[in-house]
């Protein structure tokens, strides 16, 4: 296959134009066009997975063409071990979120057009290796997200949409400034991320620190890291189900992906100095604070949103560990969190579609009415808690193992939070599904075939990776170990000191 990365990125965009070109009277087929766009995407992702060489750290499937030569900007796509898992995740989540969108019944044309544009934007971020191109995709994805929340969202959608947009734009412009700094203050001006990484020693440590912090804030807003996290619960609560799925499943990972791709690879010396504070401490705060906030929620979706903040903290803590286990665990956690929260948000969406509210205390005993649905929810909850045998267990354990050597106190906090997580999830499960049936809901129907189709494959994936994590770890390991060594070798002395 030639140009697989261009295809996987732009097929949804092409489908968007098809949707826009068709008249409104054909709105019944818009969703099928979206399905038709995400199936080849999934197929190409599988092709990439099959043909990915796990023994090399080199860029694979690269495509490069000059774009604006006077500014050294090129169209440069390629993947390595850091991006391949995210490409897979994006293809999987986008495919299922199209099915989760089937309930949309207003302005379908705009909805599917925006969804497809969002798909292109996210995929583009993970495959671009030119910083300028990366930035374009990064920003492009803001626009459809804004409209998807603002037009198809819940009652406070306008507020949530604008808050999301303002927060992320602030982050993006900081990234822009850092990007220009990297361009101008390097020995040879370039936006090529591989070249920037290869010449990382050309920047003075003072410059590296400033650029690192600017980039970190830009990416942290997306993760979202404390204290930039407040847009997330609002955005999640108001967004339609499929958009929440994408938001938690893919968008949040762009933040940590950016940190790996730019902060770690291009500014390793500053990473060595600053990671313990910005990734380690803030990551731990995310874990504990997110879990505590989740416990206090009475809105089902908000609870999942906060648990998502908490789980992203593990990714940050893993990155701060500078050990093979830590960094592998972090990226694996990015993937696993994507599949598990996608399930959780789809589950919340189903119950909201039926009951039209999300008040946890307003339910009760749904297990009697919806047994299959309840069983799947139980499965997803156990996955979220990180029970052995499920994927999240592996990644969280790897993170904690990796972090233990360098940050024992933070690790203790991180590990202890597992109890909180189990607490709020089990308590929620009990309030909604167990006990006597709330008579108001004795007409609710159990899960439909279409709904099961979006959940079961994700669940199977969670199980497979719980038993055989090598399926993903193999892809990551070579590149991540190499990256970790780059960071460590830039200032081995600093590590020795911190130990």
């Amino acid at each position: 296959m030639s140009h697989p990365l261009t295809l996987i990125t732009f097929i949804p965009l092409f489908a968007m134009f098809v949707v826009l070109a068709l008249p409104d009277t054909m709105k019944a087929i818009f969703k099928w066009i979206a399905v038709a766009a995400t199936i080849p995407q999934l197929a190409i992702a599988w092709y990439l997975y099959e043909h990915f060489d796990t023994t090399t750290t080199a860029v694979q499937f690269a495509e490069k063409a000059p774009w604006i030569p006077s500014y050294h900007i090129s169209y440069f796509l390629g993947i390595d071990g850091i991006s391949i898992s995210m490409v897979l995740l994006t293809a999987i989540i986008c495919f299922f979120s199209v099915f989760a969108s089937f309930g949309i019944s207003r302005a379908e044309k705009g909805y599917y057009a925006m969804l497809l544009l969002l798909d292109t934007g996210m995929m583009g971020v993970f495959v671009s290796l030119d910083f300028f191109l990366f930035y374009i995709f990064w920003e492009v994805m803001l626009l459809p997200m804004y409209f998807l929340i603002g037009i198809w969202g819940g009652p406070r959608r306008e507020y949530a949409a604008i808050k999301f947009f303002l927060y992320t734009l602030l982050g993006s412009v900081l990234i822009l400034l850092a990007m220009l700094g990297l361009y101008y203050y390097g020995a040879t001006p370039t936006f090529d991320l591989t070249e920037l990484a290869a010449n990382s020693s050309q920047y003075s440590i003072g410059f590296q620190r400033v650029a690192w912090i600017a980039l970190f804030i830009g990416f942290a807003i997306k993760i979202p890291a404390f204290p930039f996290h407040t847009w997330l619960p609002d955005a999640h609560v108001e967004a339609p189900t499929a958009i929440s799925v994408i938001l938690a499943g893919v968008l949040l990972k762009m933040g940590t992906y950016g940190i790996l791709r730019v902060n770690f690879a291009v500014l390793p010396a500053a990473t060595m100095q600053l990671a313990w504070l910005f990734l380690g401490v803030i990551g731990t705060v995310n874990i504990v604070y997110g879990a505590m906030c989740a416990m206090a929620q009475t809105d089902y979706k908000k609870l999942i949103a906060y648990s998502s903040i908490s789980h992203m903290g593990y990714v940050m803590l893993g990155l701060a560990a500078f050990t093979t286990a830590g960094i592998n665990g972090a990226v694996l956690q990015m993937f696993n969190h994507g599949t598990i929260t996608a399930m959780l948000f789809i589950l919340v969406g189903m119950i909201y579609d039926r009951a039209h509210h999300r008040e946890i205390n307003g339910f009760g005993g749904l297990a009697q009415q919806m047994p299959i649905y309840t069983a799947i929810t139980g499965f997803a909850f156990f996955a979220g808690m990180g029970l052995p045998g499920m994927s999240a267990f592996i990644s969280e354990v790897l993170v904690l193992l990796g972090a233990w050597q360098l940050h024992p106190i933070m690790t203790v906090f991180g590990a202890a939070t597992a109890v909180l997580t189990a607490g709020y999830l089990l308590w929620t499960f009990q309030r909604i599904y167990l006990g006597p049936l709330n008579e108001k809901y004795n007409t609710l129907t159990d899960i439909t075939f279409r709904e099961a189709f979006t959940l079961v494959p994700l669940g199977v994936l969670v199980l497979i990776l719980g038993v055989y994590p090598q399926a993903i770890l193999n892809l990551l390991n070579t590149s991540l170990v190499h990256l970790n060594q780059v960071v460590l070798s830039t200032s081995g002395a600093a590590v020795a000191m911190m130990r």
Binding site: S70, A107, Y135, V140, L142, L166, L169, V173, L176
Partner: protein
């Protein structure tokens, strides 16, 4: 090349075409009964002038009319922008309901005369010429602003414009007389030579003279604190005139400002950076003007409920962004400014055009008139306006982002970090008010009695071109930046 009066005419035909067009319109206005073709004639004139500018471009590099005007690549860039503004202004006038009530002959003749005067502003090589051209532009602008004689807002705007303009131009000519007193000349090259000559110069006096001159030129580009007229004039004038003034007169102002502050009173040093002559610290002064202009413009725009006023304040802020390219004192900066002005052109003209389409259909200019526009037959103008507003904010995939990118690149390269941070924060603030019309158009539901927006092919054509250009040039802008790059040569010639 130093050309005399007659010889200069061979390099002056874009202007001559303009003059011929004006005369024909004035004569036809007297003899023809059916006046609706005068607009088409004006459009042809402006377009022919634009083509003439393209044709004479290879001959750049001469003084015209005994060193009163200079014909160089820089002049070509700005005259192209101004001719384009005239095309857009006339095109919009033909499709405007407001302008239909005016005297067609006078209206188009004055509009073209204004464009002609803007050409002269962009080419001035002598302070006297600069003053005359600027006054010519101002006079025609006052008339155009007050053209809706039965509209009180229009008359009030014209009066305010006139009074502010009078004060600004008086201050400016006073400053010019200081320069004349200090250097003994009004010719830009001679001023430059006098200021760079070794020996004692009254630095404070030169500085005061520059501040006074900046008053007049800052007034034309609507930079703070000379911006007060802009919101009233933009609101009061007919929308095509608002557009023409917002883009054409601003471009002419920037052309004159650049020509005076760079080749006249600064000198180009190695590596493409400029130094102010005689140690006069005007860059610092302009740095403050720039920061205050963008901040104040943005903060004031936050509270507007009228679309024309919102765009007026936004264009004050946009002038502030363009000034960023100015204060870094480098060719990078000027190039970024040139590019940004072009970008500003497309998006601001587009935004005003949509405002006019909605005003034509609903008779209203407030943001509430846009409620649910996308859902009541106006999806095309709604999407177009969204594109223009995102471009004004500087979101990628639009030319506005590329413009901001070049500006920030120049600022970062010049190590003006505070300016970069202020610019960034301003971009974020501006998003909030640019999003308001978008929110209203898409997120709000239309109310019962609000009618469907009518379709006008004439306006939709231009809107489509502007919207497509905004996106296409945001993806591939190499030709524009190459054009801006070529235009960065000032003819200083034999002295």
């Amino acid at each position: 090349m130093d050309l005399g009066n007659i010889a200069s005419l061979t390099l002056f035909y874009p202007e001559l075409i303009m003059v011929a067009g004006i005369l024909i319109i004035v004569i036809l206005d007297l003899v023809v009964a059916d006046k609706q073709y005068l607009g088409d004639l004006a459009l042809i004139t402006a377009a022919a002038s634009l083509m003439a500018i393209g044709l004479e471009a290879p001959h750049a590099g001469a003084w015209l009319f005994h060193r009163m005007l200079v014909f160089d690549s820089f002049a070509i860039y700005f005259r192209a922008l101004i001719a384009l503004a005239a095309v857009i202004g006339v095109w919009m006038s033909i499709g405007s309901e407001e302008v239909k009530t005016c005297d067609q002959g006078e209206y188009y003749a004055i509009l073209l005369a204004s464009a002609f005067a803007m050409f002269l502003m962009a080419e001035s090589a002598n302070l006297l010429m600069a003053y005359l051209a600027l006054e010519f532009v101002s006079l025609t602008s006052y008339i155009l602003t007050g053209f809706l004689r039965h509209n009180r807002r229009s008359l009030e705007a014209a009066l305010k414009y006139l009074i502010y303009g009078g004060v600004a131009s008086g201050t400016m000519i006073y400053g010019m007389s200081w320069i004349f007193g200090i250097t003994g000349s009004l010719d830009f090259t001679v001023i430059n030579r006098a200021l760079s000559a070794p020996g004692h110069l009254p630095v404070l006096a030169v500085f005061i003279a520059l501040v006074l001159i900046l008053t007049g030129m800052g007034y034309k580009v609507a930079s703070v604190p000379f911006h007060m007229w802009a919101p009233d004039v933009y609101t009061g004038a007919p929308i095509p005139i608002t557009t023409f003034l917002a883009i054409g007169s601003k471009a002419a102002g920037f052309a004159l400002l650049t020509r005076f502050f760079f080749p006249a009173i600064s000198t180009l040093t190695a590596g493409g950076s400029w130094t102010a002559l005689a140690g006069v610290d005007w860059p610092q002064l302009l740095l403050f003007v720039c920061i205050i202009t963008m901040t104040l413009g943005n903060l004031a725009a936050l509270q507007q409920t009228n679309m024309k006023r919102l765009l007026a304040y936004s264009s004050i802020a946009q002038a502030g962004y363009a000034l960023m390219g100015f204060v870094v004192l480098s060719n990078d900066g000027i190039r970024a400014m040139l590019f940004y002005l072009f970008a500003y052109y497309l998006m601001d003209a587009g935004a005003f055009l949509v405002v006019m389409i909605v005003a034509n259909s609903t008779g209203r200019e407030d943001i509430d008139a846009y409620r649910g526009l996308a859902w009541r037959g106006g999806i095309v103008p709604a999407v177009a306006l969204t594109i223009f507003l995102f471009s004004l904010t500087g979101i990628p995939l639009t030319i506005g982002f590329i413009g901001k990118f070049y500006l920030f690149a120049a600022v970062i390269r010049g190590q003006f970090y505070v300016l970069a941070i202020v610019g960034i924060l301003n971009s974020v603030v501006s998003l909030y008010y640019y999003l308001r019309p978008i929110r209203t158009m898409f997120f709000d539901q239309p109310q019962g009695d609000e009618g469907v927006v009518k379709f006008q092919t004439w306006n939709y054509g231009l809107m489509g071109v502007l919207a497509c250009a905004t996106i296409a040039l945001g993806l591939y802008w190499q030709p524009i930046i190459a054009f801006a790059d070529r235009s960065l040569t000032f003819f200083v010639g034999p002295t």
